[in-house]
């Protein structure tokens, strides 16, 4: 059960890191002042993944097209392994993501959550809410004109 919760939590932060704004992530990382010693298990490489959709939205899968992704893996001195999988072609972003992933599995996870993950989540939430609010303003409010014949 705890493993499952831990996996859920890890999934959440990895997803957050993958879609984070690179500039903001780099700034937050720099501000956190961390520079852990590590060795590469897999140096950052850019590649593509095939994105799939479903026919009719719910039917059989089909290949929609690719998107760029950069990945890397590293190990801290204590052996903790971190993976970075981020959208786009930034090796620097993948490296930060892998370091944060590794450190989130150590004692400093609560500090990192406050310094990096929470601000990223706030920024994403704000961006999404702003778009949703603009969309909501374009929602059509229908009104019916009452006609003469009864």
């Amino acid at each position: 059960m705890t493993d499952q919760i831990a996996a859920q939590d890890r999934k959440r932060w990895l997803s957050l890191l993958a879609t984070a704004d690179e500039g903001q992530l780099a700034q937050l990382w720099q501000d956190s002042g961390r520079a852990p010693a590590f060795r590469w298990l897999r140096t950052p490489e850019a590649g593509g993944v095939m994105v799939r959709g479903r026919a009719g939205g719910t039917g059989a899968p089909f290949n929609l097209g690719e998107m760029t992704v950069t990945r890397c893996s590293l190990a801290l001195e204590n052996g903790t392994v971190g993976h970075g999988y981020v959208q786009g072609r930034s090796k620097a972003k993948a490296e930060i993501a892998a370091k944060v992933d590794a450190l989130m599995q150590t004692d400093c996870s609560e500090d990192l959550r406050a310094q990096i993950l929470n601000p990223l989540a706030d920024a994403q939430h704000k961006a999404r809410t702003t778009r949703a609010a603009k969309a909501a303003a374009t929602k059509v409010e229908f009104f019916t004109l009452v006609r003469g014949e009864d």
Binding site: G48, G57, F62
Partner: protein, 366 residues
């Protein structure tokens, strides 16, 4: 006989140097940045991503700049780049029902749950040139409403309960990939959809229009059109679970088509489907119409001999990179081919002249 001809290196080099200069244009005018292209020509960027079949707005912006705004050339650059990328795997199918919708309209259900949300649309504009844009204009901020927090359900879901619309058979079958194996006919629907979504917008539009004008007419309504961002999840082998590896903007169109029933199917509404990278509304609607036309066989409809029903015709001619490659290669040197044709035509003319002379001589003798 094959004759290799060398030469022209300097001419080619100089032509490319001049191309670079022409691309830059008048240097007293500020150079375009990739950010400007990405942010301000975003629909061109979307088209290059969709037909280049690679979602990466920065790369698409670079390709547009390099191609001097020639979108097919830009798509060519993206396709070429794409082949250099190692393939890390395939994602789980995106859940368009979870889309954060910027736009969501239905032409069939006025009171659809979630409402008619217009989004940043050209619809209802007067299509008059706006000369304010020629000056540096300040843009007023968009109005804000109360943001919707729950997901917006697909409209076809409501019709499904009544069994009045054909359902999509759920499946987790791995789809064929035409970037890996050459397309063969008859093609499966997943392969047709892959081919249509990366096909040329103009071609798909023309095919769709032909169905509306009566060639394999299938009475399409836009049941739903939605544009927005969807999370993309992929299973990561090192982790043993799926994470969100990104977020992409897509346009989805579902058509609802009148259907009187056939030998195999009861009278019910049928569906066509369009899903395209980016905000690509015209392409997505067109894709849905062509998808529906190509489904005639599985729905037991008659083949009316219309171009849009002929999958070999549609799928073999929809790719603008294949098309432009074959079309444009005829401008490259064909000196030897042409030389042999020239010899042949000269010979035929010579023979025809000789024959005429012989005949004239015979006539004179008689």
């Amino acid at each position: 006989m094959y004759v290799a001809v060398k030469g022209g290196e300097r001419a080619i080099e100089n032509a490319h140097a001049w191309l670079a200069e022409e691309r830059r244009g008048d240097t007293s005018i500020a150079e375009l940045s990739l950010e400007q292209i990405r942010e301000q020509l975003s629909l061109a960027v979307n088209r290059v991503m969709a037909e280049g079949s690679l979602f990466d707005p920065d790369l698409a912006a670079l390709a547009i700049k390099q191609a001097r705004g020639d979108l097919i050339e830009a798509i060519f650059l993206i396709r070429a780049y794409r082949t250099t990328l190692p393939r890390f795997g395939a994602t789980q199918p995106i859940e368009t029902g979870d889309m954060a919708c910027d736009r969501r309209i239905s032409a069939t259900f006025k009171d659809a749950p979630g409402g008619q949300v217009l989004g940043p649309t050209f619809d209802y504009t007067h299509r008059l040139l706006d000369f304010k844009l020629a000056a540096d204009g300040e843009v007023p901020e968009a109005e804000m409403g109360t943001p919707r927090t729950e997901a917006t359900p697909h409209i076809t879901e409501f019709l499904k309960d009544e069994d009045i619309i054909q359902t999509e058979a759920a499946s987790d079958e791995t789809p064929g990939d035409l970037t890996r194996e050459p397309l063969e006919f008859p093609a499966t629907r997943p392969l047709r959809l892959q081919s249509l979504t990366r096909g040329d917008e103009g071609f798909i539009l023309g095919m769709a229009y032909s169905t509306q004008r009566g060639y394999a007419r299938n009475h399409a309504f836009v049941g739903e059109l939605r544009i927005g961002k969807c999370p993309v999840e992929m299973e990561i082998p090192e982790l043993g679970f799926a994470i969100e590896i990104g977020e992409i903007e897509v346009t989805e169109c579902e058509t609802v088509n009148q259907f009187k029933g056939s030998k195999t199917e009861p009278p019910q509404f049928t569906r066509g489907y369009g899903l395209v990278f980016g905000q690509s509304e015209r392409k997505s609607i067109a894709m849905a119409l062509v998808d529906r036309a190509l489904r005639w066989k599985e729905l037991g409809e008659d083949n009316l001999g219309a171009a849009a029903q002929d999958e070999e015709f549609v799928l073999s001619h929809s790719d603008n990179i294949q098309a432009t490659g074959f079309l444009e290669h005829i401008k490259l040197p064909h000196y030897v081919d042409f030389q042999s044709e020239l010899e042949l035509v000269r010979k035929l003319r010579r023979e025809a002249a000789e024959l005429a002379e012989t005949l004239a001589a015979r006539e004179a003798a008689e």
